[in-house]
């Protein structure tokens, strides 16, 4: 398979049924994208496929011919930079394991909806679990990132 990963063309030699998650982590040694549940129920593995937040544990590599994949290691959209800055400013992460996925989901939301409401945030972020329950700060940091983007 040929696809773009973080702006670079990559030739992937793997079983087409292997999920993108494991191609990234085990074949390409890119561990920023996390394994949490394997059934698209926690969002820890969220990446962007053609700009859309996607659970990489359910995206089979064989279906991604020609796709454009962006991961936490390289995301640098204005929305992502604002999200990352707000995440540090408001000290969002605790254990941090889910935060790659949270940031990928939040960045996709902000790219699409520059001034999200609380309902927008609920809808975009409900699929991302955080056992440390950093949710109150995630919500505040998304609003804060929207301000940073506007400024």
């Amino acid at each position: 398979m040929q696809l773009m990963i973080n702006g670079e063309p990559r030739e992937i030699d793997a079983n087409p049924d292997m999920p993108l998650l494991w191609v990234l982590r085990d074949e390409l040694k890119m561990t920023g994208t996390k394994f949490g549940c394997g059934v698209a129920s926690c969002g820890a593995c969220t990446v962007h496929v053609n700009g859309e937040a996607t659970r990489s544990c359910q995206a089979l590599i064989g279906d991604l011919e020609g796709a454009n994949v962006t991961t936490i290691e390289a995301i640098d959209t204005p929305a992502a930079k604002a999200i990352q800055a707000a995440w540090v400013e408001l000290q969002v992460p605790q254990c941090g394991y889910c935060q790659s996925g949270q940031i990928m989901s939040a960045s996709a939301l902000l790219s699409e909806t520059p001034k999200p409401s609380d309902d927008d945030i609920d809808a975009a972020m409900e699929g991302n679990l955080c056992r440390c329950a950093t949710y109150a700060r995630i919500r505040r940091a998304i609003h804060r990132a929207a301000e940073i983007m506007e400024a």
Binding site: D26, T31, K34, I83, G96, L129, R131
Partner: protein, 726 residues
Amino acid sequence: MLHYLDAKRPAPQPTRRTFLKLSAGALGGLLVGAVLPQKGLADTASGAVVTPFVHITPDNRVIVLSKHLDKGQGTATGLATLVAEELDAAADQVEVEFAPSNPELYKNFLFGLQGTGGSTAMANSFDQYRQAGAVVRAMIVAAAASEWGVSAGDIAITNGVVSAGGNSATLGELSALAAAQEPPAEVTLKSPEDWVYIGKDFPRVELPMKTRGSVGLFGMDAQPEGGLVAVTARPPRFGATLASVDATAALALDGVEAVLEIPQGVVVVATNTWTAMQGREALVLDWAAGSGETRGTDALLAEFRAALDAPGLPSHPRGDAATKLAQAAQVIEAEYVFPYLAHAPMEPLDMTVLYDGQSATFWGGSQIQTLDHGTAAAVLGLDFPQITINTRWGGGSFGRRASPDGHLAAETAMIGKAWLDAGNTARPIKLVYSREDDIRGGYYRPMAVHRVRAGLDAEGNISGWEHRIVSQSIFTGTSFESFVVQDGVDHSTVEGISDTTYAIPDMHVDVHHPKVGVPTLWWRSVGHSHTAYVMETMMDELAIAAGRDPVEFRLAHLAGDARLASVLRLAAEKAGPTGPEGTHRGIAVHKSFNSYVAEIADVRIRDNGTVKVEKVTCGVDCGVPINPDNINAQIEGGLGYGLSAILREEITMVDGEVAQWNYPDYTPLRITDMPEVEVHIVRSDEAPTGIGEPGTPPIGPAVANAVFRATGTRIRELPFTRHGLA
């Protein structure tokens, strides 16, 4: 098949002798002897100051060696704060690495071995890491004094810059000279009024990394060169035994390197995680019929309830509860049921081993390094020095990464040994738990049943309290048993009840510890996770029965606990008379891990009848607030974790098999259910106490009490999903 070489080289046993009580209240201006091994070692090659707890490098980095695992509670930052405070380092030059496994140097004073838990990190290390900072500061000052020909008293260090008169240098510029200085025999710690970092919001040292993929932080991300991945097929029932396995189809898969039988199950080793999981799916396994724990949770619950009718082992009985209850004006009787709970940290369990027959190296989020180290030594037949433990950041734990039996280290070591014994060349192997392995893998918060009879006298004060609990002992049979189990009673089952500071002079608490084949473990706040729920919902019922305000009723019974009373007053004052429109209020206050937390929950019932907690106002006293923003974060997270459990979490078993499998049916809190949280901290000058766990116990009863006000229903069987409330 290999057999676990149990107790051949038993893990070091902590003893009461090593169970040191920390001196409380030692806050500063304190002359301390060199009670710690702080010998400076000149690293002649690099010119770095190297002490057991702090390194200063020529490129001006201050590296703090954390003896505690940081699994999200901000522990590493807390230790960095203490060192930076006494060293007067700049915040942005401080980094944290995890210390090697060495119980002599790095033991937790409260456990007698190297380990993290019980919300003890700051209480344990408050003096030690300040001393460590003061020691290297003295070495830097001595170096500057000799270099510049000035007296030590004329040297100032501010924000990492050392100066005297017209001279100035960074810590790094002085590190080589400092490394040659003799560490002082004693140091004087700063007085609290001179603190620049303690009590302020020192930024979390690792957060920039945690917004960029946490590359290299977690055990799950360890990828030593040439590494393989292992997954284990474990029994469907706890303790069930394997009758037969056919691995033909698994071994035929491209990338499956080996199938190994170990006592824990059947292990598939493959070149990547996905293939290992595919290989496990392809195994044909036959487990011996009727082996292991075959009772389901319905059967266990019936047995637990039946046990309520017979007297149990008493825990600190006092007065004459039976007589007082017989004379009481009113008696309230209630039974409670709490389910098994999984910890389900976001990073599933994992550990990596490289074992070559003579030595072994481990990578992972080890929470009790000494037990993991000793367990691995026993399994592999190695001595302590032949084993290296590389501690990684923990992707959550809530108790799960610490187990008294070191089962994860044992299984990982078994795999390393089985791999080598099968004639393979030594390679790193990472044991990975899937989420299903985690949810179905046991080590749960134990199921618990409580029966309470509490009386009120004619004045509406508590008079007589009988309380019986049926729950498995967590500590019996572990290396911690002597600390926690007395006269057969596991204190972690009764903590928060028989040691309550409410004025209840006539109280009889007793306990049954049934033997069940389901492994149990401490779960964030341990026994307080159920005892606080019972105590604080009962206090609410009693207040209402007495016709008294729930805050006033509690305060009237807290004359002997000024700190608990004070956080309740603080939260009540800050919450104001009413919550947001359309909400109902519930309160709870509880002491755990020597910290005091009151939570006031304002709760709305949605149109569909489910509970939405809108706002929680908290009062917290955890001694000196080393990092107020981190305390806020831990209270937010701690109550979020507790709320998650009471709303929707339960592990059930049918004929011994766990019914849940992954997050779709073991369902933690999501952003849509998270309340707004407001935390108010008492500016205490008492010694610092725990903060990782104390936020968890009060939220359940606070919400349950609010639900009673909203609906008239007392929820005594958890979780709320059983009642259509979540």
